[in-house]
């Protein structure tokens, strides 16, 4: 790039008096990029903007501010439209982000559900395999080796091996929920057994004593009545 030429053109551009041909040349120099003296252009732009400082300061009419305010008021719809357009440009970006987030959430949920189903199937397969194992031992089938059913379960497990944290988490949560169900059943059973063995006798004896007390009360009532009648007739 011819530095002197570019500096000369910069001066004319800043003054706003470039010919069409010079405009094209300067544009090409700017497009070339790095070597263009942008700093010098900035310095000349600042210098030329300082020229009005040498003029005697004049003031506009005081009501001009109100007239300007009125003009701004008249273009409020235009500004509002501009602001709305800006917001609208931002909304699709947010929507895309939200959609991608929800897609991720759905994927995680799907994986989680898949893991639960896998775990259930796995448990079912295991139970089935255990049953198979039992049958194997009971019927003493020579075609079924002792390890075969477990091998099947093992293969299944291999395919459904946890691949990420979500899967591991799903495994743990499913196991915990199964454990919780089992624990609940055990507690209920223990409670029922305890009530049966200890409280039932007490309730039974309590019922019997209530019955006896009722009978005793009735007898005492009859005796009292007889005594009252006897006293009445003696008099």
């Amino acid at each position: 790039m011819d530095k002197k030429k570019s500096l000369d053109l910069i001066k004319l551009e800043v003054l706003g008096c470039l010919s069409d041909k010079d405009k094209e040349n300067l544009q090409a120099m700017k497009a070339e990029g790095e070597e263009f003296p942008w700093r010098v252009l900035g310095d000349y732009q600042n210098l030329i903007a300082n020229l009005p400082l040498a003029l005697e300061l004049k003031y506009p009419a005081s009501d001009l501010k109100d007239k300007t305010a009125m003009k701004l008021y008249n273009i409020r719809d235009q500004i509002k439209a501009k602001v709305d357009a800006k917001k609208a440009q931002q909304v699709p970006v947010q929507l895309v982000e939200e959609i991608s987030e929800s897609v991720e959430t759905i994927e995680v949920q799907e994986k989680f559900e898949e893991n639960i189903i896998t775990e259930q199937v796995e448990v079912e397969e295991k139970v089935f395999a255990e049953v198979g194992e039992g049958i194997h031992f009971n019927v003493n089938d020579s075609n079924l080796s002792k390890e075969e059913p477990f091998k099947f379960v093992s293969n299944f497990k291999e395919k459904s091996e946890p691949e990420n944290l979500f899967r591991q988490k799903a495994d743990i949560e499913t196991k915990e929920s199964l454990k919780a169900v089992v624990d609940k059943e055990v507690v209920e059973k223990i409670t029922r057994d305890y009530i049966k063995s200890h409280l039932e006798r007490e309730i039974e004896s309590l019922g019997k004593s209530v019955k006896n007390n009722r009978l005793l009360s009735f007898i005492l009532f009859v005796i009292s009545l007889i005594l009252i009648l006897a006293l009445y007739f003696i008099r």
Binding site: L12, L15, W38, L41, G42, N46, A49, P52, A69, I75
Partner: protein, 191 residues
């Protein structure tokens, strides 16, 4: 809360970018005299100058997104905007054939395109340079001052100046370049 007068030009512009009308009013109070002085020098008619000044602030309000908040040169941006507007009106009033004034035209020809490496200027700092600028301008020859004036305030291109002064275009070009170069040198020396 910070005193509104203590805000820098760049801070006010940032508020204007958020369509804060009070900030625009502050900007008007601060810049109206210098911008009006420049515009009046170009178009001379008082009413036209006031109309242009008013339009400058409407343009700032409408085109605030065109302001470069990286360089933050409020002073040069506003001065250049006002000058471009005034020259455009002057040329149209003088019967120069120009494209219709549309938003695209405004962005292309009226909104300043400042260098991305320009130093930021604020009005308060610039006003302190008044003496230096006057002194630097005073050191130029009358011919140099005249061509500068025809170009900057008259909005004339090389050919128009050449026609007015009855001299070759190349001479106008070299006179403008020398005058501007000298001015830069004098201002730099005065720093």
């Amino acid at each position: 809360m910070a005193d509104s007068n203590s805000l820098t030009d760049a801070e006010i512009m940032l508020k204007v970018a958020g369509y804060d009308s009070k900030a625009l009013e502050q900007l008007y109070d601060r810049y109206a005299p210098i911008l009006y002085t420049l515009i009046k020098k170009i178009v001379t008619d008082k009413d036209t100058a006031e109309e242009i000044l008013s339009e400058v602030f409407v343009t700032v309000w409408r085109q605030i997104d065109q302001f470069d908040f990286k360089t933050n040169n409020v002073y040069t941006w506003l001065i250049t905007l006002a000058r471009n507007k005034a020259i455009d009106v002057l040329n149209r009033n003088n019967g120069k054939l120009l494209p219709e004034y549309t938003e695209d035209y405004e962005r292309e020809h009226i909104i300043p395109k400042l260098s991305p490496e320009i130093e930021a200027l604020e009005l308060a700092d610039v006003l302190n340079k008044k003496d230096k600028i006057e002194k630097a301008l005073g050191s130029l020859t009358d011919a140099q001052k005249y061509v500068l004036e025809l170009s900057y305030y008259g909005g004339m291109d090389q050919g128009e100046i050449a026609g007015k002064l009855n001299i070759p275009t190349m001479t106008v070009k070299s006179k403008l370049q020398v005058a501007f170069g000298n001015l830069m040198q004098k201002v730099s020396e005065a720093k």
